[in-house]
Symmetry: C2
């Protein structure tokens, strides 16, 4: 590590929050160590396109060392944090190493939440990591292959039924993308089956899709999905889930492929700190995002219950995590250069975006609401713009335009294997 | 499957041989079923670039269904063949299904050969499949990460030593690409280590690198590799190989990453048929590539001991497999339309190519020999040209030009995990 007398800032997690904090401290007189389990930053908002074979893993991920290679005061450590020692100001790594900090930023994100039914996880994978995306892609594509080979009509229909649980932005995007995969990209690939016969079922526990959006956009989104052939079931709370399919009370949906997009649980950052947390496990933070009685320790992004200066809760989206990282960097910068504390975190909400499919998206800018093709174009531009790294931007733009023009998905490779898939083989 | 009265051609394996046979039968009055364990055709000659984080898996692989989607008389079956019933003319799949054939083409390729030391396989993976390439990539990149974190100088040096066994084209390409990865692409990524200190050791059992090439090109290749910092050891037969490194008689090379590029073994096609095979397990074939006493069964590509009409053995390279596939298609076309048998397979050798690194390659066209930059440019053009699918061609060209201009490798993601890597963690 750097052996200087400058304060040591340890940032755990190289997601949007952690990385933006590191970048915003580029010129501060501190030494930064950014710790992550993975060697890459993941652009999660596009992960569903990796899962549906539209993009490659490396299109939506960028090596952390590459992102920070021009930043002299930052070093990257590949490792898994498992605890924090508040008294000795140390971060404990799983492999036994520890890391002393003067300032600590925990930006460790969230994982899936099965609401007490972790036994559903093997059947219904969520979509948070690259490995989740390649697993889901393999299952989607293998389901069509198995259906093609199956002689049993009922089994074939079950193989061609895809159930997405949760109709937030991720669930809507997944359902739309699977419908397009079946009804366009794969359409001429098979002899025995017609991929157009695939059933895509989107289950939502609440009364409408896209709960954080205004009702008019929810209605538009549902209608668009239905036009694409997606069956939307509202007020549908999943009661059971296994290799045969999904139960919603008395209703059984026979499906061999189930995707979980229903809930997230915070990482154990609050537990490491022994600090207060809300019901979802998110650390309660002070207005400046620090932890009570620990003014040099911050928790940001999906693993914190962040509130804006106006008292409103901050949503769990990428721009919020980025702004939080920048705010924390500002607090640290002020402290190390003897300037006054910049005060409470003020979240600026630009809007909510969700894409429904080819040519269709919804955007809620508060006063301005957009839907349809124009919203979709804006969604594309925004996502390409926010992708880190010019190389990835160009590649994604290129792959998208090819996919758009040809309906063809080159990334539809089935690689690796997973126990669950093998087990289900006939 | 297709239920017509036309003869049924079953092709096992969608590599260069199997796919070219299928394509060449596009207009023949037959029904084709092409069976493969994987849903994609793999462009093996570029696989080492996936292993060294220059290309993405989907840049060198193309879904079989996509390649054949415009071919009305062909259908694709995802499945693993485990035997052939000569008497009932059936191919047996692992899942219990069987497939009747009138004509059978076995093009099942080759795998690694550890010359009786299969226990070396976990330590020294070979490079035949996409999963091999991502495994090797993960190990290469993790070795640098571990070295960065290691406090022990000897361990650090062992982590930064990369041993490639076998100096055929694949071994030469791997060694060159690893040297470039260390000395250029990763150079500004680390704080504690200098990736330029990496040792790349290329071990060859014979007296010179690139045995199939003329001696002058072998000499040139060795000198180029050495200029790039690769240590070449000739007449170096590996006697032992484990997690500590590689032994060549009394000489021990302490290395944490070992790659096997030394030998190939044919797939069990000859065993399935109960037919004669050579020492490497390759099926002995008649001059028209059929099996003795089985004129409707052909074995082609790396799994056959093919001979050209002039009696010369045919090398195990992609163009040879392609030509063999075309020849077999010609024999079948002639038979089903009552035309005379086209006679023996005549292999046309265009040349041998191997790339050494950025700006350098060797090409042996028989009378014409090329080396250096011009050979390298020709190598790039040839490989892009032969990549199936315009989309992949464009993408590879794009990634290569970016990599060339920036020395940056965007594909350097560490995903998944493997037991062997985990086990070695400190």
């Amino acid at each position: 590590m750097n052996e200087t007398n400058r304060p040591h800032v340890v940032i755990v997690g190289a997601g949007f929050g952690g990385l933006s904090a590191a970048r915003a401290l580029a010129k501060a007189p501190v030494d930064i160590t950014i710790v992550d389990r993975r060697n890459f930053h993941l652009f999660q908002p596009l992960l569903y396109q990796v899962a549906t074979a539209e993009l490659n893993p490396s299109d939506v991920a960028w090596p952390i060392r590459g992102v920070l290679s021009d930043q002299k005061n930052a070093c990257v450590l590949l490792g898994e944090v498992q605890d924090v020692d508040r008294d000795r100001q140390q971060v404990q790594l799983k492999d036994g190493r520890s890391l002393r900090y003067d300032w600590l930023v925990l930006a460790t994100g969230a994982t899936h939440n099965y609401f007490g039914h972790d036994e559903w996880a093997p059947t219904a994978p969520g979509l948070k990591r690259i490995d989740d995306a390649t697993l889901i892609r393999r299952r989607l594509l293998m389901a069509f292959e198995r259906a093609e080979n199956s002689q049993d009509e009922a089994e074939r229909q079950a193989l061609m039924t895809f159930c997405v649980i949760g109709a937030g932005p991720t669930g809507v995007e997944m359902a739309g993308a699977i419908a397009e995969l079946a009804k366009h990209a794969l359409v001429s690939d098979f002899q025995s089956i017609n991929p157009r016969d695939a059933r895509v079922v989107l289950l939502e526990g609440g009364p409408r899709v896209l709960p954080p959006f205004p009702e008019s956009l929810s209605t538009f989104t549902q209608r668009s999905l239905e036009k694409m052939g997606v069956e939307v079931m509202l007020n549908a709370l999943v009661t059971h889930c296994d290799a045969r399919g999904v139960d919603v009370g008395d209703v059984h949906v026979e499906a061999r492929t189930v995707i979980w997009a229903a809930g997230v649980a915070a990482s154990p950052a609050a537990r490491w700190l022994g600090s207060a947390a809300d019901r979802a496990g998110r650390a309660l933070v002070e207005p400046d995002l620090s932890i009570k009685d620990l003014p040099t320790v911050f928790v940001i992004g999906d693993t914190a219950a962040m509130k804006s200066a106006d008292g409103k809760p901050v949503p769990g989206i990428a721009p919020a995590a980025k702004q939080a990282g920048q705010h924390v960097a500002k607090v640290i910068r002020a402290a190390v250069s003897g300037k006054p504390h910049p005060g409470a975190f003020r979240y600026r909400h630009y809007g909510n975006l969700a894409t429904i499919g080819r040519n269709s998206a919804v955007i809620d800018f508060g006063r301005i609401r957009m839907k349809g093709t124009l919203a979709w174009l804006l969604w594309c531009v925004a996502h390409i713009y926010f992708l880190i790294g010019a190389r990835n931007r160009m590649l994604v733009a290129y792959e998208w335009s090819i996919n758009y023009l040809t309906h063809n998905r080159g990334a539809r490779l089935i690689v690796g294997s997973d126990a669950n898939t093998e087990q289900r083989a006939p």
